[in-house]
């Protein structure tokens, strides 16, 4: 095994091994558990940065494991996987800090953190997958790793939510499996490559390939919460806040979106899709999801549910960007939104968790005047909310700008309209929250005063959202610099002829 392969395997193991050890630890060893988690994250981030540097300079990372003729597992590092891997690792570190603070007196923490680590391992596996089979493998394992997290509280509601989640996820997985095998039966075993499969298959099997594309999108669309496959997401909000943060920003929903990106760019290829003419369908579904998610978000009073519907809406920006695959600007916008939406959404969920843990606030109507009590949390929330709306200089503005330019360049006026309308809707459901928090007077006592201390809440709960909010601002300000996510996305897109 050469050093590149060793690097890939170590990236996976850096969260797998702590996870296994944590499962075996007795419940009381908090400090050891926290130590393991942190060491694992630091190691992982360093390894990922090394890998990114290698990819930038053209080094090839690949490790194969053949199973049966025609099926082999392939982990490979290419620029796209580097993007998702970095996002996952950094956000994992922050979520771990947050989770340690959040779950401070809960039972069953060994199991929680064990599954947490497994979840991240599997997400990195999805990021590093080099062909559809490996992607499928880690995709299904992701469902398994996240199920115990969703039902962690053991209440009737969480069990029902978990059952729902499984139904949706495994059905999607079954459809995905059928589509993957079918595709391979037609075009033969194929790794992810920048140009997709050879166009000659389109002439002989055009309609079948279109149908397979739809099946593939359905398969990943369940996790990516495309309407009408989104039903599991709002119910899954019953899980603890760190889980929601992880699920929405990092793992599950992003994995689905990443799947759409891979299928469009690396499996089918831009050229083939344009010939097949199936992209308008994807645009339509994405646009519908964006509007539908925003409209439903308006009607929610529960804060986490409003954020859930907002996620449904925002992740479809990525799908929208992918559907305009002939426009480089749109693809850049969609890809970079992968990172930006993750940062903003995780901030929002961290803040929502803070409000719930410190003051017992779950509903927006209870949030009047809360900024006086928790100014830092609400500052972070506001920055992220402004980013969601798309106000410069937050990163949200950057992605929307590129998407807008891309739709203009492609002549898709109606998509531009969709973007504008959805920004307005975002404003409509985020601004009232900000107004309530900052400019209203507190009405009556808080639901529960769970924490009174020097800072507005526990430090471990306060620091992560501040960090991510800072990144939201910073990455937007330096978007044109060398080290921003945008620069890396430009580097990715350079590898494709669009």
């Amino acid at each position: 095994m050469n050093s590149g392969q060793l690097l890939l395997v170590s990236i996976l193991l850096s969260s797998f091994i702590p996870g296994i050890i944590i499962f075996c630890l007795p419940e009381e060893k908090h400090r050891l558990r926290t130590l393991l988690n942190f060491c694992g994250s630091i190691v992982k981030i360093s390894l990922v940065l090394v890998m990114n540097a290698g990819i930038y300079y053209g080094h090839v990372f690949e490790i194969r494991l053949p199973l049966i003729p025609g099926v082999e597992l392939l982990l490979s590092g290419d620029p796209l996987s580097a993007l998702f891997t970095t996002l996952s690792s950094v956000l994992w570190l922050l979520t771990t800090v947050y989770a340690v603070g959040y779950l401070e007196d809960s039972p069953n923490r060994s199991h929680f953190f064990g599954y947490f680590s497994l979840c991240v391992t599997v997400t990195i596996g999805i990021a590093l997958a080099g062909n559809l089979v490996t992607f499928l493998l880690f995709y299904e394992m992701l469902t398994l790793a996240t199920y115990p997290l969703v039902i962690h509280r053991g209440t009737e509601k969480s069990l029902r939510a978990g059952r729902n989640y499984l139904m949706y996820a495994f059905s999607g997985g079954a459809v995905f499996l059928v589509a993957v095998v079918w595709l391979q039966a037609i075009v033969g075993p194929m790794d992810f490559s920048a140009s997709g499969f050879s166009p000659m298959y389109l002439t002989s099997h055009g309609s079948v390939l279109t149908f397979i594309f739809i099946l593939l999108i359905i398969g990943v669309g369940v996790k990516a919460a495309l309407v009408p496959l989104h039903g599991w997401l709002p119910q899954a909000m019953v899980a603890p806040a760190p889980v929601s943060a992880l699920l929405h920003a990092v793992a599950v929903v992003k994995a689905g979106a990443f799947g759409i990106v891979r299928i469009v760019l690396d499996v089918y290829g831009a050229h083939n899709l344009l010939l097949m003419g199936v992209l308008p369908l994807l645009s339509a579904v994405a646009a519908f999801t964006i509007i539908y998610g925003s409209v439903l978000a308006l009607q929610q009073d529960d804060l986490k549910r409003r954020l859930a519907y907002s996620t449904i809406s925002q992740v479809s920006y990525i799908a929208l960007g992918m559907s305009m695959v002939d426009q480089q600007l749109a693809v850049i916008g969609g890809l970079v939104h992968l990172v930006h939406q993750g940062l903003m959404k995780i901030t929002l969920f961290f803040c929502a968790g803070n409000l719930a843990e410190t003051l017992g606030i779950h509903r927006i109507s209870e949030m009047r005047g809360v900024a006086r009590r928790m100014p830092l949390t609400m500052a972070a929330f506001s920055i992220a909310a402004l980013g969601m709306i798309g106000i410069p200089p937050t990163v949200g503005f950057v992605s929307k700008w590129y998407l807008g330019l891309g739709s203009l360049a492609g002549g898709n006026w109606w998509l531009l309209v969709v973007l504008v309308v959805s920004s307005l809707l975002n404003a409509w459901y985020f601004l009232p929250i900000l107004i309530y928090a900052w400019f209203d007077k507190q009405q009556g006592p808080w639901p529960e005063e769970l924490y009174v201390g020097r800072f507005e809440t526990r430090l471990m709960l306060l620091v992560p959202p501040l960090v991510t909010a800072f990144i939201v601002m910073a990455a937007g300000l330096v978007a044109n610099a060398q080290i921003s996510p945008l620069a890396w996305v430009r580097f990715i897109v350079r590898g494709y002829t669009l």
Partner: protein, 505 residues
Amino acid sequence: MFPSDTAVWIVFPVILPLVAGLLCFLFKRGTFGIALAAAIGNFFVVCFLIYQMLVYGPMRCYIGGWHPPLGISLRIDGPALLMLLMTAATGLAVTLYARGYFLFRISDPLRARRHKRQQYYFWPLWMLLLTGLNGLFLSADIFNLYVTLELIAVSAAPLAALSGKPASLRASYRYLLISLIGSLTYLLGVVFLYRSCGVLDLALLQNLAGDGLGISTALVLLTVGLMLKTALVPLHFWLPPAHANALAPVSVILSALVVKASFYLLFRFWFEIFAPIISPSSLNFMGTLGALAIFWGAIQAMRQQRLKLMVAYSTVSQLGYLFVAFPLSMFVDGGQVWSIVVFIALTHACAKSAMFMVAGNVYLHLGHDRIKSLKGVRSSQPITVFAYGIAGVSLMGLPPSGAFIAKWMLLSASFASLQYWWAVVIAGGSLLAMIYVFRVMSHFFVIPEGESSKKNVSLSPLLEWPPLILALISLFLGLISPWVLKIVLYKDSGLLAQIFQGGLP
């Protein structure tokens, strides 16, 4: 003792458990030690045989020095050795688990006494059953197969009745009678085959089958007899009561091993001896029965109120997958058909054993196995619940389990041949499996009201670790598929058939 390159080692998987079984009857104490020694010895001998086969190729052992067509011979080739390995590994796990099961202290004195008596009879019967199973996989002539089938039936029926409950007595009595019908039908088929071909040896029979009423009748009789023993829908009615009402270790043995033995025979007959006269419509017929089994078993499993009955119906459903491989075999290259069957069989053996072991643990701990009342198991037996989850997931065919590899090959074949309905059947079966597996899972996680989360109930490690290890094996079986494929492809070269063309000298 014996030089390592003689074929005499082939006899050991039969002799070891036989001697152990007889010794267990004679000695009341130390039965576990004898049985464990035999199980471990069996496992090592099988590993050694695999190594031998990889070095020397498929081998035969002529008992008493008599060559076919007169003598009985034992032979090892790829598929047989993989089935032997499955039996040896699962057998070892069951031996350990049964020890833990019988050691469990039951407070109720009546049940405790019964527990003791069960233990006394379990070990010799299990060893004899193991003899029969190994003999079946090793036999190379069709009449010896009848003898081993009867040996299996005669050991399995009392094992199923061991719990002494009226329900299990009834179920195992019925099981015995059904087994007898199956064996006798099989024997009649053997008779017809002998009348038409004049030889009993499997290798000699290969490709000797021509057209003719005798051969077709033989095929039908053999198929019906073995279908009855494998519990293929619609002849499956005896399986759920027998497997569910038996003791947990016995259910493991029955579901994981005994039904596989008769299926293995059926598959061998269809694709080696009767290969020239198999028509696509007959293959499609078997496939349709398999599809019916998948759906019927899954639907019944979803409706059950008791955990063990659910797992038993799940067996009926999973066996259907094995039969769906029949019609798709036409579109898969030669050795691959065997690998599909072997993957499903191996995964199912490990996963189903784990599930029945989990059901046994739950039953020991709670005193019942009603699904609706399974609260709080998750906090008291976390390892058991984890094993259940992993086993359920392997049964569903999630990657990288062996069932996933098999499903992949089946799906590829059905797409390559444009027979899309099989793909629907296979995918639908996985979804239904998910429903019935995870229905129980959510009951495990319910926290009983008013009770704080219990600490771990100290179940002996012998009860907790075998299911977990078997479940993990079944989940990661797909990762060793290159080796499995390599072993499966070792087959008898047919040289023997060429020498003895025409039957009796």
